[in-house]
């Protein structure tokens, strides 16, 4: 009975998701597109940040590489079609991630965070002085006729991202290796895990997924510049969404992304100002770190942490009875 209900609910959700652009109107379709994009980006960040325990403050670099690959290749001397630029962007970011990840992942903790941040900022600076990226002025892409296309592209990319994350991180040895090295890297090594190669694989995977969203994003907004696709605040958003949703859980990033993106857009449409959003973000992270380190997802009924809490409360009750 239970699974019949679950399947019915899933099919209903799927039907709503597929038909949404036809009844929700342009505004809500754009918001839904944005939610899919941020959910996917947050998930890609979570692969390294949550599962491997390496806080990457330079994830935007790969988003930007994807965006610029599409932007450059769809423009004048090349004039590729959009589907052809996506693999190019993914390959470029994979190579870059391998080259950068190999030395950088030797660093631990805060040093890794600083190094990735420096790397992303260096890429930002490079993109402002190069000719091929259009410098600070940016690049324009050929505009698209029907915006609904991007809803489906983003939705498919997000579904693919979560599917890959589910299979590789929750249902395979790779995921266990990652969490093992997160919890104790030395112990993982003594168990025969090649931590260096596992870490770099995770890093490359997360870079490829980010680049995918970068490519679609560039085509969607049809205009990119260094600030809009390589700016540090994009990484900040990903980090915050994951932290608020739940670090190292599969669905936490999606929850955080949906909530925060909605808050952002609603503030924007009612006040025309997102400055207060930055304040909300700051308070949200601080509060989550202090009081709910596993994020909002840990309030979900059957979540592990909630069970721990329940067990602790039960023990407390017994202790009170005994006393």
């Amino acid at each position: 009975m239970r699974w019949v209900l679950a399947v019915a609910l899933g099919l209903a959700a799927l039907a709503i998701a597929v038909s949404l652009p036809f009844w929700a109107g342009g505004y809500w379709t754009r918001i839904a597109t944005g939610i899919f994009m941020w959910a996917g980006l947050a998930c890609s960040w979570n692969i390294v940040g949550g599962y491997a325990g390496y806080i990457n403050f330079g994830q935007v670099a790969f988003f930007g590489v994807g965006a610029y690959a599409t932007g450059i290749l769809m423009n004048d001397p090349y004039d590729w079609t959009f589907p052809a630029t996506v693999p190019a962007g993914l390959t470029a970011s994979a190579i870059l991630a391998g080259a950068v990840g190999w030395p950088t992942l030797r660093l631990r903790g805060a040093y890794f965070a600083i190094a990735t941040w420096a790397f992303a900022e260096a890429l930002f600076q490079i993109s402002t002085v190069l000719d091929i990226t259009g410098g600070p002025a940016g690049l324009s892409l050929p505009p698209i006729v029907d915006e609904r296309l991007f809803y489906y592209l983003m939705a498919a990319a997000a579904a693919g991202t979560y599917g890959i994350a589910y299979l590789l991180l929750e249902r395979s040895r790779f995921g266990y290796r990652l969490t093992a090295l997160r919890d104790n890297e030395t112990a993982a090594e003594t168990l025969g895990i090649n931590t260096a190669s596992v870490k770099v694989s995770a890093f490359v995977l997360s870079a490829i997924l980010s680049a995918l969203f970068g490519s679609i994003f560039a085509y969607w907004v049809t205009f990119i510049n260094p600030r809009s696709v390589l700016g540090g605040d994009i990484t900040d958003q990903m980090v915050i969404m994951v932290l608020v949703g739940g670090l190292g859980s599969l669905w936490g990033p999606a929850l955080g992304a949906a909530i925060l993106y909605l808050v952002n857009r609603l503030l924007w449409s009612y006040w025309g100002d997102t400055v207060i959003y930055i304040v909300i973000l700051g308070v949200a992270i601080a509060a989550v770190v202090l009081f709910l380190p596993d994020g909002l997802i840990s309030l979900w009924p059957r979540h592990r942490r909630r069970n721990l809490l329940g067990a602790a409360l039960g023990r407390l009750g017994r202790w009170k009875r005994d006393a």
Binding site: G53, I55, P103, T104, R106, L107, G109, A110, Y111, A113, I114, A115, W117, A118, F119, E121, A122, Q125, I126, T128, V129, R182, D183, G232, D236, V239, I240, L243, V275, I276, Y277, I278, V279, I280, L281, G282, V283, A284, I285, A286, V288, V289, L290, P293
Partner: protein, 290 residues
């Protein structure tokens, strides 16, 4: 020209070092990488701006004022930092990074909400003055900042080496557990160190806002520079920060003059990244000290 550039670089480097000393102390003693360091500089700048604007305070009033005010603010925030740092949750270092990242975001958003995007500058009578020496020109404000950085570093070193409290701080830096076993109140030490850090950083923010200017967005830049210097200096080395600051200042000034200002950031990030890869422990690290 070359000498003047180097001299300018040294002065700027001194200022860079000045707001990184406290950051280094927090890094070394609490193991907390404070993402909010630029935020404290920024708030200090606004502190200087408002005390000049509302109280008509000159620098010799507003500097100690901000030192004390931000010191108290940091001391009161200390328990939160301590709580995050000693949480049972796995990876407290990363959670501390995330927490201060939240604090930095909050500061930036709060400053934007309260004061908007306008650029402000601390008005002071020392503003236009400069000193001529050996054919070189030294702006007085930068000299003051440089001197203050030197004095602060020396005072901090004297405090760490010469007093019982400083001994407690150094013990905490080496091992919190052992220090606690020997009767050091680690929580109080943590609050104190965080207060010293925010006080110094806020005070230097006043000077930076007088030399340059302040907007809510400057925080990130100073955070970056502080990271740079701490990485270059190595964990916990307070004197290394001075050397790293001077190095960075001179490097930046030379690149800006001889290669182009748009490349100076690129160089900073490049050097930072390479240093991390080649010598993640820092260039000036001395083993086993606070």
């Amino acid at each position: 020209m070359f000498l003047q550039t180097v001299a300018n670089g040294i002065l700027i480097g001194g200022i860079y070092a000045a707001f990184s000393i406290g950051f280094q102390l927090v890094f070394g003693v609490l193991d907390v990488v404070d993402f909010a360091v630029g935020g404290w500089v920024m708030l200090g700048g606004y502190g200087g701006y408002w005390s000049a604007r509302l109280l008509g305070a000159e620098l010799y009033v507003s500097l100690p004022l901000c030192l004390i005010a931000f010191g108290i603010l940091g001391y009161l925030m200390g328990p939160l930092i301590y709580r995050v740092r000693t949480s049972r949750y796995a990876r407290p270092t990363l959670m501390a990074l995330a927490f201060t990242f939240g604090v930095a975001t909050f500061m930036r958003g709060g400053a934007l909400t309260l004061w908007g995007f306008d650029t402000r500058s601390v008005t002071t009578a020392f503003g236009g003055m400069s000193v001529q020496l050996l054919g070189l020109t030294f702006p007085l404000l930068r000299l003051i900042a440089f001197g203050l950085a030197l004095v602060t570093t020396l005072a901090l070193l004297a405090f760490l080496r010469g007093t019982r409290l400083g001994l407690g701080i150094r013990a905490t830096a080496q091992s919190k557990e052992h220090a606690a076993l020997l009767g050091v109140d680690v929580k109080r030490i943590s609050m104190l160190v965080y207060g010293i850090y925010t006080g110094i950083t806020g005070m230097m923010g006043v000077l930076l806002a007088a030399i340059y200017s302040v907007t809510p967005e400057v925080g990130i830049r100073y955070t970056l520079l502080a990271f740079f210097m701490v990485v270059l200096a190595g964990l916990g080395s307070v004197t290394g920060v001075l050397a790293a600051g001077l190095l960075l200042g001179v490097l930046e000034a030379l690149v800006a003059i001889y290669i182009g200002a748009s490349y100076s950031y690129l160089l900073v990030f490049g050097v930072l990244y390479l240093t991390l890869l080649v010598a993640p422990e820092g260039l000036f690290r001395r083993p086993r000290r606070a």
